[in-house]
Amino acid sequence: MTRALLRPSILGLILLLVLVAVFPYLYNWPFFGAFLNPFRTFQVTRFGLWLIILLGLNLLTGYSGQISLGHAALVAVGAYVAAVLMSQGFMGHDVPIAVAVLAAGLFTGALGFLLGAPALRLSGPYLAIATFAMIIALPQILKLENVSFAGQEFHVNMARWTGGVQGLLLDRPKPPESLKDLVSERQWLYYEVMVPAVIMTAMAWNLTRSRIGRAFVAIRDAEVAAEHMGINMALYKMTAFALSGLFAGVGGGLFAYNEAFISPDSFEIIKSITMVVAIVLGGLASISGTVFAALFMAFQNEIVDALSRVIRQIPALSVLEGYVPTTANDFEKLRGAVYSIPLMIFIIFAPGGVAGLIRQVGSSGPTWWQEWRSRVGGWSSVARLARRRVEPDAEAAADGRQEPEDETRH
């Protein structure tokens, strides 16, 4: 038992969990106070939200290979379900946040399952277009009041629930009375988001190492072969959508709670596409990749700021002043361009994303490093677990496409 706990991988995980647990109080400490403040807590809360949302997308796109450009629509549905439940109650009863978020997750999961049906016959770019339609259609649906169809007026009055164009403004979340002295509003929100985020991560982690996860990977890699192995294609494809919907719903519900505001514009097309970009950048079909993706989403603005600061440091640039953007002001307007170039470089040279890059770096290097690595059990507990399993190959594949290729190359 003690020996197991002392393994670097497990120890690392425990340290990480402890860090997550105490993070919102760290800024009061002397050393951490220098770079942490309540705003960082907010940002890490955002990270937790993105982690939940992106885990769902990675399950769908990374693991089972179904491209979805409309994931933000599912997130928005989850956010609205939770927001409506919290603001208007259910059948005259107040709905606590945990129930509202769970309901949002289940509703969105069910919706995702149904949306999976049309996806059965579509793949690749066609599926991308079909899912894209969701995010385009959703804002209009949320604002619906009357529909005239075939010359008749129908009163749908979606806007009565969703607040229509105004969106829904919720009460700002506050910590319960009993914990008032212990946690501030910001710290409370952090835990409200981080606890589900950790649970959902563990869930996704287990899921990808289960029968369902392996079936997803099999479908992604070879549909015909998977069907030959007895995998129910329709069921698993729809399950993939349902699971991604579940994650999106929970994430969206927490988003609405955290923000205390949701409007039809909160999750739009650009957000939806950025999510896909983020998981590709972080690493498809990888839980740690999703963590990087969520970090990217949460700290995007700061990353771009840092990048433009670095670019401005290049001395040769001053020669080009007036011809190319050099001032801070210019870079502000070229935010998209500033991060698109590293993005392209990244995708060309590290197609496995950040997670793939780390794996590559880990599996190369000097001999002493390799020896130490094999002794402590690799970068993450994943490889170790995989070795103990009956199907090591499927496990390795589930962790990322990189590994089997690497093995054949060496």
């Binding site: 197991a4 955002r46 164009v165 319960p176 505001f261 514009d265 001032t327 002001n329 935010r335 103990r388």
Partner: protein, 440 residues
Amino acid sequence: MLRRFPRAFLLVATVVVSLLLLSCSGGEKEADKTPAGTQPAGAGTPGAEKVPGVTDTEILLGTHMPISQTPAAAYAPIADGMRAYFEYTNSQGGVYGRKIRFIVGDDHFNPADAVEVVRKLVEQDGIFALVGGLGDAPHAAVYKYLEENGVPDMFVSGGLDKWTEPLVRTRFQGNPNYGTEGKMLAKYLVENYDGKKLGLLIENDEFGENGKKAILEGIEGSDIEVVAEERYETTQWDVTAQTQRLKAANPDVILAYAVPPPAASLVKVAREVLNWDVPIVVTGVVVTDIFIQLAGVQNAEGVVSVVFGKQIYQTDDPGVQRNYQIMKDFGQGVEPSNFTLYGIFIAEMMVKALKNAGPNLTRDSLIEGAESIRDWCCLTCPLPVNMSPTDHRPCEMEVYNRVENGKWVTFGEPVIYESTPGKAVACKGPNEPIYAGEGD
């Protein structure tokens, strides 16, 4: 052990969640005025260094605006205009010896992003006040947060009624509100098209909804009949289909509550594609050069709207000349336009409020300073600006404008809905109010 780890972990997590659930259902209904750890407006003694964002040498201001990654980044020059005016103020020695530092947060016109950048401005950068937060949709996500934390929310660049109704002490509106504007547009319609048929093009969001409500209220009692109403989504810039359906309903006049690109599309399609010379009236938001460029000079001719300020190409006006020069001198190469003109107007009003607040600057004194703006003629104001503790709307007058030869030209008498009676009746030039009985 290893394989059981996640399961044991899940168990612990489940317990934690049920605890959370229990604690939530108990503590949901409490209603506190100020959340713990936040500072009410104007806390601390005057002059003490406790005021966030204010030191003896500096005032830190911030705003949220779409700068990149969205078509709405067309509004970005507004931030450039504001920055230019603050730089200009600093070059004049600042306000009571304090230099203004101005941070722009890029919100991509997305409410969720606006939340992030505004929190960063307030909590990390520690701004003194938010100035000219742009856009009704993004600002809707942050206004409650600013209100609850007592951060002055100065001159919101949006026209929704809800920014000043109900009146919140810390929030001021920058644009004329759509209610005022709608009344003016309705007045024009009633005067010129009574008994005729009206077609509406409405943006499917709060901006369009608010405007439509004001128009319908304004034409109540007249014989104008609304024969068609078409809507478009905020992401849509091409309204060909809507325009065709409007034509099918055959109205005598069209009113568009739209942003410049769709409004331009309406005009262009009507004139060029459908060969339809119906009179078109648009909301004041459309009064920009971009609209004329997109619609084409020929097509835009005769389009009617309302504005609350002068235009950048009124080059013979001394106020506009100064405005133009400030942008040339301090704009870091950004071309002067009606957007930069508007940015300068907002920044100028902010500096005026800061000056009124006096040397002992607190959030409280800033609000009092803004509320005490009376009979003030800004560089580009056609009429004096008045505010009071019960009136947080600086722009309560508008003038009719019409496109003539590719430029917006003023016509008719200004219409005033001023709720704070001032002594001045007009503006001769910058800081030169004309009082009743004087002049002419």
